[in-house]
Amino acid sequence: MQKVLDLIKNPSFKIAILVFVLVAFSAGLVGIYFTQIPPEQPILFPHNRHVNLQIQCLYCHSGAWKQASAGLPTEQKCWACHGQLKKYFDPVVPVSEWPIELQKLNDYAVNNKPIKWVPVYQVPDFVHFNHRPHVAKGVACETCHGDMSKKTVATLEQTVNMGWCIDCHTKKSANDPVLQAKLLDCGTCHY
């Protein structure tokens, strides 16, 4: 017992404890930081430029209004517009002088390689989210995904957890007990 007390009184032991606590705390912070940074995408897609050109979200994410998954555009969809853009189509400008991201797109489209976009908003396997009813009820895309006219690559604007889902479902169905029974039913999302 006396040995343990002596050890605790030892200043180097106190310093060791302090260092350990600090390391654990900063490791936690770094861990949280890594969950907050957006994943690296194959192409640094400038959402802001496309949205400011008045291109609708549904043009590229065309599944959102009719099915569960909103979908990510294929290289053919990108190339449908970019292949026609005169500035880059002109043989005078060689591919090597295009902007770097468009060179990548050219590589994907010409070689018919799929672009492996990294999904940013993800739910676990046991959650079955469906875009269609949300879009049909008039929930705007930016409610969950943020204002894309100010962002380049997609970032996680909202921590996707069940409390957030349930909060909104409770609010939206406050006046309708039948709808509330459906929206707050476990089986609506978990099966």
Partner: protein, 251 residues
């Protein structure tokens, strides 16, 4: 004694017709096990292998029961009975779950199993009079290329999770979603669970019980219908149509 204000919880089920129901015609069921296979494919059911199956750990949500009755010379086979979860209106599995993983859906009137809540106490399976619930004893191996046939609409369960027939709730949701997108009511026979779809004899009929015009409610009320262990008051939603032996099979 301190009053901890624990609310008194009383079982309070109303005897309603239910929302979704199934009728299984034992007269035309030939016991071919197509429903069992289709269910396993649809619902990502793991293959447990010979050894674990011998311990009674096979994970099928549906089993075709077939027994023999009587002393030797006068042995008679009972009809084939595909038995899965009966989706009881007053389910014995629900009140025993300590973590509320086995809950009743108010909306669809189904017994749900919420996999992410389940901690694997197995109380529900012990309390199920139909032995409809199965337990993942381990993470069963799925060698390539089996993962390629996973149904993305159904959770792949891991070790320590209780599971059971869901009445193919993913197909119910899909059907409802499609009907809503088209702006119409759900048609009778639009939602077909995997077992009914695979049944070559069309012995399994699925539909809404709260609609008196649907095929399943007509069949259930036709007089041949029996429910398993009904005397327990579980209000099962699956009706077995008793054998009339009109098709020549005498066992």
């Amino acid at each position: 004694m301190a009053n901890h204000n624990i609310p008194e919880v009383k079982a309070n089920w109303e005897e309603t017709s239910g929302v979704w129901g199934m009728s299984i015609d034992m007269d035309v069921c030939s016991g071919c096990q197509a429903c069992v296979a289709a269910c396993a494919m649809e619902n990502n059911i793991a293959f447990v292998g010979e050894e674990d199956s011998g311990y009674g750990r096979s994970l099928h949500w549906l089993r075709v029961e077939h027994t023999f009755e009587g002393e030797y010379p006068e042995v008679e086979a009972t009809p084939f009975q595909p038995i899965g979860c009966q989706q009881c209106g007053h389910a014995p599995c629900e009140p025993v779950c300590p973590v509320f993983a086995s809950v009743h859906s108010k909306n669809e009137d189904l017994n749900l199993q919420v996999y992410n809540r389940c901690v694997g106490t197995r109380y529900c399976a012990n309390n199920c009079p139909y032995v409809a619930r199965v337990f993942n004893m381990r993470d069963y191996e799925r060698p390539e290329p089996l993962p390629n046939q996973f149904n993305p609409d159904v959770t792949v369960r891991r070790r320590g999770i209780m599971e059971k027939c869901t009445f193919c709730i993913q197909r119910i949701h899909q059907g409802q979603d499609k009907a809503k997108a088209d702006g119409r009511e759900l048609l009778d026979g639009e939602v077909v669970p995997a077992c009914a779809q695979a049944c070559p004899a069309d012995a399994i009929v699925f539909g809404r019980l709260d609609d008196p015009e649907s095929k399943v409610s007509k069949l259930s009320k036709a007089g041949r219908g029996v429910k398993l262990i009904e005397e327990l008051g579980t209000l099962p939603r699956v009706t077995f149509l008793e054998e009339e032996k009109t098709y020549g099979r005498t066992g």
